[in-house]
């Protein structure tokens, strides 16, 4: 008598890829805008990037229903923080909050693969990368989602961070300028779109720097 398997899953994968790169005084977040299910496209214009605080922006791929629920939770907790502390949450604080929120559902996880990006209290770019249950690490760059296996090796090649275990502690942020980082992200997504069927349609790029948040779009292949 073999063990009975579930014939229904509460999860679905809506595909897509996200990237974040930290610079000396900026942070670039990017994600494609395609939402799919199986072999079908649900919409070509869905934003996977969400502003959680003035200096913290999250990009998430995976199951978008869970992503939306997660964003709602974080927004509510952020509002409480603002009432209690009379200020916005910093990016490292938001990073810890996201990790705790994800681990809270350790045994029925949010099917969300997140990268959190922003500026730390010194104004330097910071990127945090997560797994589905909240394990996180501050890094110089990261990618998540269906195209991450294609994107990450290329980012390693272009931006390889020094190991965080080295002494003296070295900066993880890239020495590239903001426009060079944006160009790199555009190249990366054009390549990922060629080979990953779940990535494409349009690219949304969000740049955080001292001047605030700036958003731009780039067309990608629609096939």
């Amino acid at each position: 008598m073999t063990k009975q398997q579930a014939n229904w899953s509460p999860y679905d994968n809506n595909g897509g890829s996200c990237v974040a790169i930290a610079g000396a005084d900026y942070c670039v977040m990017a994600a494609d805008t395609r939402m799919s299910s199986g072999y079908n496209i649900l919409t070509r214009e869905y934003s996977k990037i969400c502003k959680l605080a003035d200096k913290a922006v999250m990009a998430s791929s995976g199951f978008q229903a869970d992503v939306n629920a997660l964003q709602k939770q974080l927004a509510a907790k952020h509002l409480t923080y603002q009432h209690q502390h009379n200020k916005q949450m910093s990016c490292p604080a938001m990073a810890q909050l996201l990790s705790n929120t994800l681990y809270y559902k350790r045994f029925f996880p949010y099917y969300a693969f997140n990268v959190l990006g922003g500026l730390d209290s010194e104004g330097k770019g910071c990127v945090f990368t997560y797994d589905a249950v909240g394990s996180y690490e501050r890094v110089g760059y990261s990618s998540q989602g269906s195209g991450s296996t294609l994107i990450m090796p290329f980012l390693d090649n272009q931006l390889k961070s020094p190991s965080p275990l080295l002494l003296p502690a070295q900066d993880a942020v890239t020495p590239l300028s903001e426009s060079e980082a944006v160009d790199l992200v555009k190249t990366v997504f054009a390549s990922a779109t060629e080979r990953d069927i779940y990535t494409g349609d349009k690219l949304e790029i969000v740049v955080l720097n001292a001047g605030g948040i700036h958003r731009e779009y780039m067309e990608l292949r629609k096939d």
């Binding site: 799919s36 072999y39 079908n40 060629e194 080979r195 990953d196 069927i197 292949r221 096939d223």
Partner: protein, 222 residues
Amino acid sequence: MSQVAVEAPPKGGFSFDLCRRNGMLSKKGVPPPSYRKTGTTIVGLIFQDGVILGADTRATEGPIVCDKNCEKIHYMAPNIYCCGAGTAADTEAVTDMVSSQLQLHRYHTGRESRVVTALTLLKSHLFKYQGHVQAALVLGGVDANGPHLHTIYPHGSTDTLPFATMGSGSLAAMSVFESKYREGLTKEEGIKLVCEAICSGIFNDLGSGSNVDVCVITKRFY
């Protein structure tokens, strides 16, 4: 007292010896190796002077595109071509095999091949393998009896149709055909309609993409 059995000669076809081992491995959690499928859009239609076949050019291994420009329209005979969807190795092997058989048959009979000959050879091969050869085909050509278009399913059933679509993008392409197809299309109208149907598959189906290949087979007027 055991007796040494005489080894029977190998019978050809698939050997299912390793099925028990594979079942044991998958129960232990070892994933089976994937093979390359053409998540595909292929179409065919009959127009006033013959047959037009169309196909996209993307080959996928799961979610990754492994070939951005592969050829899915296979040569069977000078007057017969076949589009293939399903496992790439299976469609290649089965169309090559039947193409060779047709050539030998042409030498034997001294005549041009007929589409029903290709159809019968393909369907009997696929039926013999009970659906394990995963090839879904759109076969089209013009012979002494006029233009013909057939679809062949992996288990060996066939349909004879004025317009047909197969593959993961078949619904997207069929919606175009059902709205715009009519009998007696000219060559230019037919090519335009085939391209529209394949493009519909390319943009709306994630398993299809890249370029459109078109093959026009026309009647000889003499």
